[in-house]
C-alpha cells in the first residue's frame, strides 16, 4: 500500500502538478503559520518556566487608591513591610528584597553598563537562578560579593570563569571594589528576571528614608512558599497585614494614615504570571497581553484549518476527475475500504510533503519573527518535530477522510457508461462554496482586525501629545540633586550651538510617576483629588510648547511663580505658590471651564496654590493609560529627579546629539548619557502594537493567500467542469461578457458572503481590543469597506485567468468537452 500511495503521488506530480502544488503549498503555509505561532505562543507562556519552582515564587505588589483616580497596581512595594512578612506569615519559606539600579562596572580599561540588582543574601534561596560558576548558597554571603551574568563576565574578562576576580562598581560616582562570587548561566528560556549583575544590599542602604516609609516605592519583594494553599493563606490575610503594620496618625511621615486599607493594598503574583499580569502594573515586568497571545494561538489554529479546508475543497472538486480511475480499480477488484485507505494515505503523504515545506518555511521565518517581535524565539527541535508529526498526521486525516469517502463511493457502472465526468451534485457544490466562504470569512476577519491594529499603532505614534514633540531631545536621569550641577548642565545645554531652549523637569515622556499628592479646592464640600506633580526649571514653555487653554505660563516677573523645592515646599506653611494645571485636573476638580479655574486657590496641606494657567493634557504615558491630573510648579530650587530637555533647530538630529553629549560630559564625567527624541522614549508604548500589527499583517496576508489558493484551485476545476455548460450557454446566445459576468459572479458570491459574515465578529474583536486603550481610533465602516474591496479585487484577479479562458471557449469545442 505505501508503494501504491507513493506511485500515485508521483503520478499526480507528473500529470497534475498544479493540483499537487496548490495542495502542498496551501498545507505547507498553513502548517508553517501554525508552527511559528505555536512556538511564539509557547515562548510567551514559558516565561520564567526555567526558574525552579517559579510558580511558588511570589512577588508582593502594592495597590494605591488615589482620590479621584482608579486604583493602580505597582510591582514596587515599600521595603518597610519586609521584616513583618516572616513574622506574620509562617508560610513564607524565604524572602528577598530586590532593587534594580544602573551601575557602571570596570575591570581595568574594560567598562560595561550593567543593570544591577541589589538583593538580600537569601536571593538564590528564593529565586534559584542557575549559576554557571559559583555556589548559590554562598555567592551573596560576603558584603563585597557580585554575581555577574555570563555576558557581562565575558565583556569584562573575556571569559566566564572569573570566580574570585575583582572589579570596580561605580554607582552615581560612588566607587566600590567587589569580588565576583558567581556567574549566572545563560537562561534556557525567556525570563523576566535577568539582571546583568547581582549584589547584596550595602549595610547602610536600608537606613535611607525611602526604605523606612510605607508611602514609598522601594523595590520588589519576592517570597517563596511551599504550595498554592500557602499562597492563598497569605493573600487572605494581606489586608489585616496592612492594617496591623501601616496604620499611624493622619499626618505622620511613616504610615499610610489611620485607615491604611482605604488607600493601600497588597497582593501576590507568581513569577509564572508576571509576564501576563504586568500589562497594567507600574514598575512591573515587560509584559504581554495574554488575550493577544491567545489570539495568536487562535490564528495559528485557524491558518491550519484554512489549509485543511483548502485541501478538502481541492480534493472533492477533483473527485470527478478520478472517478474513472476509481471505477476501473473497482472493476479490477478493489474494495471501497482499500480505496478509502489509499486515498487517506495519499492525503497524509501530501500533508507530509507540506509538513517538510512547513519546517523549511519555519526555519526561514523564525529569525524574522524573533526580530519582529523582539524575542529570543528559536527552533526547538525537541518540541517542534513531535508537534509537527502530530500536526501532519491529524491534518492528513482531516484532509483525507471526507474526500476519500466521496471518491471511494463512485459506482463503476455509472461512471464507465457516462460520456462526461460525473457531476458530484449540488450538495458537493454547496459544500465547496461553503468551504470557500469559511476560508474567506476567517481571512477577511483577520484582515479587518489587522487593519485596525495597524491603524491604532500608527495613531499611537502620531497622536496629538498636547505638546510639540518634534525637535526635542531629552537626557537620561540627572543623577544628582546638587543645584550647582543642575544649573551648570542647564547653562551648558543652553549655550550649545543649535539649541533654541533648554529646561529641566521631573516628568518627561515615559517618566510619569514621581511626586503625587492631594489637593483640595478651597471652600466647603470639596473632596481631595490626587495629583501628579511636576517641577520645571528654565525655558520649559519654549521647549515643550504646551498648549495653554487659559491664563498664562510661569514668568520671571512674578515673584510667586517660583516655588521652593520639595522639602521646603511642605514646610512653607501659609505661603501661596502659583501653579499651572492640566485639563484633566481642571475636570477632576470640578471647574466648569479652564477660564473659571484661573486665580482659584487650592490647598495642599498647609500650603495654598493659586492657579495661574491651564494647559492641555501633555501625554507622557501610553495610549493604554489615562493622563493623570497634574499640577506643574516652576522652581528655583534643585529638582529631585531632573531630566534635561532641549529644543533644537537648524541642525541634524545626530549632530545635535553629539554636541549635547560634548556639553554633558564635562559636567557629569562619570554619568555618560544619551539624548533621545520623544519618539525614542515613547516607542515602548506602541512598539508592541506595531510588532503585533506586523505579525497580524503577515498572518492575514498568508490567510488570504491560502484562501486564494483554494479559490484558484476551485476555479481551475470548475473551469474544467463547466466548460460544457459554457458551450450550452453560448449555443443559446450567451456572449463572452455574459459568461464572464456569470462566472465571476459565481466565484465572487461566496467571497462577498464571507465578507458579510466576517464583519460582525471582526467588529466585536476589534472593539474589545481597542477598549484597552484610553486613546484610540474610532472604528469606521471604511475599514471594512477597504478590506472587502481589496479582498474582492484579489479574489477576482485570482480567478480572472481561468474565467477568461472559460468565457472565451469556442462553443463547438466546449460542447465536446467531457
Amino acid at each position: 500500500m505505501p508503494l501504491a500511495i507513493l506511485r500515485s503521488i508521483l503520478r499526480q506530480a507528473r500529470r497534475q502538478p498544479l493540483y499537487l502544488a496548490l495542495n502542498v503549498i496551501g498545507l505547507g503555509l498553513g502548517m508553517a503559520v501554525c508552527l511559528v505561532l505555536t512556538l511564539q505562543v509557547r515562548y510567551e507562556y514559558s516565561f520564567n518556566a526555567t526558574i525552579p519552582d517559579a510558580a511558588h515564587v511570589l512577588r508582593l505588589d502594592s495597590h494605591l487608591i488615589f482620590p479621584g483616580s482608579a486604583p493602580q497596581e505597582y510591582g514596587d512595594v515599600p521595603f518597610i513591610a519586609f521584616p513583618f512578612l516572616h513574622t506574620d506569615f509562617p508560610q513564607v519559606v524565604d524572602a528577598t528584597r530586590y532593587e534594580a539600579d544602573d551601575y557602571q562596572l570596570h575591570n581595568g580599561d574594560r567598562s560595561v553598563a550593567a543593570g544591577t540588582s541589589l538583593v538580600d543574601t537569601s536571593f538564590f534561596d528564593v529565586i534559584a537562578l542557575p549559576l554557571e560558576h559559583g555556589d548559590p548558597r554562598s555567592a551573596l554571603s560576603r558584603p563585597d560579593a557580585i554575581v555577574l551574568s555570563a555576558a557581562k563576565a565575558q565583556a569584562l574578562f573575556g571569559t566566564t570563569d572569573v570566580i574570585g576576580r575583582t572589579i570596580t562598581a561605580d554607582h552615581e560616582g560612588h566607587h566600590t571594589r567587589q569580588t565576583v562570587t558567581g556567574v549566572l548561566a545563560r537562561a534556557a528560556g525567556p525570563v523576566t528576571i535577568a539582571p546583568d549583575a547581582i549584589t547584596p544590599f550595602p549595610s547602610d542602604e536600608m537606613q535611607k528614608p525611602q526604605f523606612t516609609r510605607w508611602g514609598s516605592s522601594s523595590g520588589n519583594i519576592f517570597l517563596r512558599v511551599r504550595n498554592k494553599a500557602d499562597r492563598t493563606a497569605i493573600a487572605r490575610n494581606l489586608t489585616r497585614f496592612v492594617i496591623d503594620h501601616a496604620s499611624g496618625t493622619a499626618n505622620d511621615d511613616v504610615s499610610e494614615g489611620v485607615h491604611p486599607e482605604r488607600r493601600f493594598a497588597l497582593s501576590l503574583v507568581s513569577l509564572r504570571e508576571t509576564h501576563f499580569n504586568d500589562l497594567h502594573v507600574v514598575a512591573g515586568d515587560d509584559a504581554t497581553d495574554r488575550s493577544v497571545v491567545n489570539i495568536l494561538a487562535l490564528i495559528g489554529a485557524l491558518a491550519l484549518l484554512l489549509a485543511v479546508l483548502n485541501a478538502i475543497n481541492l480534493a472533492t472538486a477533483r473527485s470527478g476527475l478520478r472517478a474513472r480511475e476509481v471505477a476501473i480499480r473497482k472493476t479490477l477488484g478493489a474494495t471501497r475500504k482499500t480505496l478509502f485507505v489509499q486515498f487517506v494515505g495519499e492525503a497524509i503523504a501530501s500533508t507530509a510533503i507540506g509538513g517538510a515545506l512547513a519546517l523549511a518555511l519555519c526555519e526561514i521565518a523564525l529569525p524574522f519573527t524573533a526580530a519582529l517581535t523582539g524575542t529570543t524565539l528559536h527552533m526547538d527541535y525537541g518540541f517542534t518535530l513531535p508537534f509537527l508529526l502530530a500536526v501532519v498526521l491529524l491534518t492528513g486525516l482531516a484532509c483525507g477522510i471526507y474526500p476519500a469517502l466521496i471518491l471511494s463511493s463512485h459506482q463503476p457502472a455509472h461512471v464507465l457508461a457516462a460520456t462526461r465526468m460525473p457531476s458530484d451534485g449540488r450538495g458537493a457544490t454547496h459544500l465547496r462554496n461553503g468551504l470557500v466562504i469559511v476560508q474567506f470569512a476567517f481571512a477577511v476577519a483577520f484582515a479587518i482586525c489587522t487593519l485596525v491594529v495597524n491603524r491604532q499603532a500608527h495613531f499611537m505614534q502620531s497622536q496629538d501629545l498636547g505638546f510639540a514633540r518634534d525637535g526635542i531631545l531629552i537626557s537620561s536621569d540627572i543623577m544628582t540633586s546638587d543645584i550647582g550641577k543642575q544649573r551648570a548642565i542647564l547653562e551648558a545645554l543652553r549655550h550649545t550651538l543649535g539649541v533654541v531652549s533648554a529646561s529641566l523637569s521631573e516628568l518627561t515622556p515615559n517618566i510619569d510617576n514621581r511626586h503625587r499628592f492631594n489637593v483640595t479646592p478651597v471652600g466647603p464640600h470639596h473632596e481631595d483629588i490626587h495629583v501628579l506633580g511636576d517641577t520645571v526649571v528654565g525655558d520649559y514653555a519654549t521647549t515643550y510648547r504646551p498648549r495653554m487653554l487659559a491664563g498664562r505660563w510661569f514668568d520671571n516677573s512674578h515673584g510667586e511663580d517660583d516655588s521652593p523645592g520639595d522639602e521646603a515646599f511642605h514646610k512653607s506653611s501659609g505661603k501661596t505658590w502659583n501653579v499651572v494645571l492640566n485639563r484633566t485636573a481642571i475636570s477632576r476638580l470640578g471647574f466648569a471651564s479652564p477660564e473659571s479655574a484661573i486665580g482659584t486657590p487650592l490647598k495642599s496641606g498647609p500650603v495654598t496654590l493659586r492657579v495661574i494657567g491651564v494647559m492641555e493634557d501633555m501625554r507622557f504615558v501610553s495610549a493604554r493609560d489615562d493622563v493623570s491630573p497634574q499640577i506643574t510648579f516652576n522652581s528655583t530650587a534643585a529638582l529631585d529627579y531632573p531630566h534635561a530637555s532641549v529644543r533644537f533647530s537648524g541642525v541634524p538630529e545626530n549632530i545635535m546629539k553629539t554636541r549635547l553629549k560634548s556639553a554633558w560630559d564635562p559636567v557629569f564625567p562619570n554619568d555618560p548619557t544619551g539624548f533621545g527624541t520623544v519618539q525614542d522614549r515613547m516607542s515602548t508604548f506602541y512598539i508592541t502594537e506595531q510588532r503585533r500589527g506586523w505579525m497580524f499583517s503577515i498572518a492575514s496576508g498568508i490567510a488570504i493567500f491560502i484562501a486564494c489558493l483554494g479559490l484558484y484551485g476551485l476555479a481551475s476545476f470548475t473551469a474544467l467542469q463547466r466548460t460544457h455548460e459554457v458551450g450550452i450557454r453560448k449555443a443559446l446566445g450567451a456572449t463572452t461578457n455574459n459568461v464572464l459576468t456569470l462566472m465571476l459572479g459565481d466565484f465572487l458570491r461566496p467571497v462577498l458572503l464571507a465578507c458579510a459574515m466576517a464583519a460582525l465578529p471582526a467588529l466585536f474583536v476589534a472593539r474589545s481590543w481597542l477598549s484597552g486603550f484610553h486613546q484610540r481610533i474610532a472604528l469606521s465602516w471604511l475599514d471594512f469597506a477597504a478590506v472587502v474591496l481589496v479582498t474582492l479585487l484579489i479574489a477576482a484577479l485570482t480567478v480572472l485567468g481561468q474565467t477568461l479562458r472559460l468565457a472565451r471557449a469556442e462553443p463547438a469545442r466546449a460542447l465536446r468537452a467531457e
Binding site: S423, K730, A731, G733, T735, L815
Partner: protein, 227 residues
C-alpha cells in the same frame, strides 16, 4: 430562401496534420423545410450542423442566412444571431445539471433581456407544448431521457426561432421516446418551423421533407421525401 451555403469549407489543423471536415459544401434551405442529414460517423454531419448553428466557423466559403452574411460577423454579433434566430436540440440533451427544467428553458430567453413576466409566460407555453410542465421544478437528473429531451426541445422553441437545429435528437432515446420526440419535431414543422436534423436513423430521416446524405465532408445526395 432561408439558408444559402456556398463553397463552405472546414479544415482542422494540428501541428502536423490537416484534416478537411467539410469540403466545398453548397446547400440551400427554404423557410419551413424539415431537412434530415445522414451519413456515416466522421462524414462531417455535426460539423455542418455546428456551422449552420454558428457555434463553429467555416474556414472558407459563404453562409447567408435570410440574406445576411454570417461569416463576416464577429463573436458578439453571432451570439446575438443565435439567441434571436436559432434553437438547438442535442443528442445528449445538454441541460445544465444545476438548473431546474424551468430555469433551463428560461435560459434561452434570459440572454435576450426579456422581461421576467414574458419569459415565464413563454416558458410555461413551451413546456405545455412538449408535455413537460409537470416537471418544471425538477432537476435534469430527476427526469428520464425522453423527458430531458422534451425539455431540451422546449428550450429550443421557447424563443420562437427561425431555425431549429437537432443533432441526433433521438440518439440517446429508446424507440418509444424517440418516436415521441420525432412527433414533436414534425408538429413544430407543421406549425411552420424550419428544422435541420442530423440522424443515424433512416426511419427518422424519412419523416423529414428532405434528406441529405454526406460522405467524407461532401453532400453526395439530396432528395425530397414523398410525405
Amino acid at each position: 430562401m432561408l439558408i444559402d451555403l456556398s463553397h463552405i469549407q472546414r479544415l482542422y489543423r494540428s501541428d502536423e496534420v490537416e484534416t478537411t471536415a467539410l469540403h466545398e459544401i453548397d446547400l440551400q434551405i427554404e423557410k419551413g423545410e424539415f431537412v434530415a442529414i445522414m451519413g456515416p460517423s466522421g462524414c462531417g454531419k455535426s460539423t455542418l450542423l455546428n456551422i449552420l448553428g454558428t457555434i463553429d466557423r467555416p474556414t472558407g466559403g459563404s453562409y447567408r442566412f435570410d440574406d445576411h452574411e454570417l461569416t463576416a460577423m464577429n463573436e458578439a454579433e453571432l451570439a446575438k444571431f443565435r439567441r434571436e434566430h436559432l434553437g438547438y436540440v442535442f443528442q445528449s440533451f445538454n441541460l445544465i445539471d444545476e438548473l431546474t427544467i424551468e430555469e433551463n428553458i428560461e435560459l434561452a430567453l434570459i440572454y435576450r433581456n426579456m422581461p421576467k413576466a414574458e419569459r415565464q409566460s413563454r416558458v410555461s407555453h413551451a413546456m405545455d407544448h412538449v408535455g413537460i410542465a409537470h416537471r418544471a421544478r425538477h432537476y435534469p437528473s430527476q427526469l428520464s431521457g425522453g423527458q430531458q429531451q422534451r425539455a431540451a426541445i422546449a428550450r429550443a422553441i421557447v424563443g420562437e426561432p427561425s431555425l431549429i437545429l437537432a443533432d441526433e435528437p433521438t440518439g440517446n432515446l429508446d424507440t418509444e421516446n424517440g418516436a415521441q420526440v420525432m412527433d414533436i419535431l414534425q408538429r413544430l414543422n407543421d406549425e411552420g418551423a424550419t428544422i435541420i436534423m442530423v440522424t443515424h436513423s433512416p426511419s427518422h430521416a424519412d419523416l423529414a421533407r428532405r434528406r441529405i446524405d454526406m460522405l467524407d465532408g461532401q453532400v453526395v445526395v439530396s432528395v425530397r421525401n414523398a410525405i
